[in-house]
Symmetry: C2
Subunit: 238 residues, 2 copies
DNA sequence: TCCCGGTGGCTGTCTATACAGGTATATATA
DNA sequence: TATATATACCTGTATAGACAGCCACCGGGA
């Protein structure tokens, strides 16, 4: 008998969750107060408090000081997608990753980029285009703008050895990121690089990153629709 | 002077985070033990413990019982996308939402659906196709399969009044969800419903949901690429 | 040299107690 | 009646003390 020992606060969390799932308490209802749960369950108030605090963080409960603890309303559908360093992801599949540098130079900033970086349109920014291959099959175009003030030696890097993502996170750890996912038709140039048919839809992920509150990079990742998809799974914990 | 009062555990968290950001402690380093922090900061061990525990949940630290507390390695890029009930989303923009029921009937389960629901191929399942419009402009096709065992009266619902999402979450709260995002070309039928040009790429979000561990619904949402995009933002908290 | 058990240091949990601060209700006052 | 005040109850935070469980390391014995 491998008796599982479970901490008290976990058992309290489970009990609360079960009562909600079982219909004893409905969304919006006030549940028993900490003091009542102490008497009912025979554990200290600190233990009850920890259980209720964690359930609140997990979105199961809502607490109002001076009033009580309530069952939270149905939470919105949230999907968690992990967008990872492509080199790592490919390596994990046991495949070979290679990156080709298509372009690497300083350019005048387009409007959108200038605005992101807080520069004037036409100011000098770094721009790189890379083609990532998995076992020699093109899987991603990386079209990146970088603020020169945060990565002065960007143009001197060998991105066939270390991806820009790895280089940038090393010199400016990401503190904030914004992602946009769209379905697009790639340009003719991009289509040729990816070696895909005309009219093949692609996933485009645009990511802007900040380090210590300052914008660092604006990257557009293009994936052939036939070779790539994003997936994620969520499951509330007990 | 509106002096902000900050709880001790918050100040401890901030201090730890600052030392990591400031380079005092690097990823992989062992940080001071709870006992050392008690002596250094003059607060109780429970307070230190709460701060470290929360930083661990947030992914900033890693703790190993019997060994110590370590600065976590660089966390993977994670993008949080909120995929919401489209009716709500449209209402929030102050626009008019209308749903048209294109199809609503029982059908033999295709292979993939049967497998998800744990049925034999060809078993009777419910199938609905809805077209969602925002100010009379088509914005989403909802192609949904539902396990009849969890929603016996699915076919009797009026989905122009209440979306299937709302109906299903009411009778079977979602406990788990899986999402897949792809770029696709819609079928001719779908293209006509959405009133888009040939070759216009679309975002396709496939979602499978479970309630109490049992599969409930398999839905394919198709968005015209020119009218829709998914966005999300993450920022580590202090 | 290799294996084994002891030991100190670390995190994980739990308790009893205390006080602060918020909210709603009842009570007293103008 | 309307307004201020007291109070009961609730959550939020903090503390000292205790014990359990885990792990790395060291020293002794085969």
């Amino acid at each position: 008998m491998n008796q599982e020992i479970v901490p008290h606060y976990q058992r309290v969390k489970r009990m609360i969750a079960d009562r909600i799932a079982g219909g004893t308490w409905h969304p919006g209802d006030r549940i028993s107060s900490e003091a009542e749960l102490v008497k009912e369950l025979g554990v200290s108030r600190m233990t009850i408090n920890r259980a209720l605090r964690e359930l609140t963080i997990e979105g199961v409960l809502t607490r109002v000081q001076g009033v009580g603890t309530f069952v939270a309303s149905v939470k919105p559908q949230a999907a968690l997608f992990e967008v990872r360093n492509i080199a790592e992801e490919i390596a994990e599949r046991g495949h070979q990753h290679r990156a080709a540098v298509i372009s690497l130079k300083a350019v005048p900033a387009p409007d959108e980029i200038a605005e992101t970086f807080g520069l004037k349109t036409g100011a000098r920014v770094f721009h790189s285009i890379l083609l990532h291959r998995e076992n020699d099959l093109p899987v991603q175009i990386e079209d990146r703008y970088v603020d020169p003030r945060h990565a002065a030696d960007y143009l001197e890097q060998d991105f066939t050895r270390q991806t820009p993502y790895v280089y940038l996170t090393a010199i400016a750890p990401i503190s904030e990121a914004e992602h946009i996912i769209e379905a697009v038709l790639p340009s003719t140039t991009e289509r040729k690089l990816l070696k895909i048919d005309a009219h093949e839809p692609c996933l485009q992920l645009t990511r802007r990153t900040w380090s210590s509150g300052k914008p660092v990079s604006h990257v557009r990742l293009i994936y052939p629709g036939s070779r790539y998809r994003l997936s994620g799974r969520i499951a509330p914990k007990g």
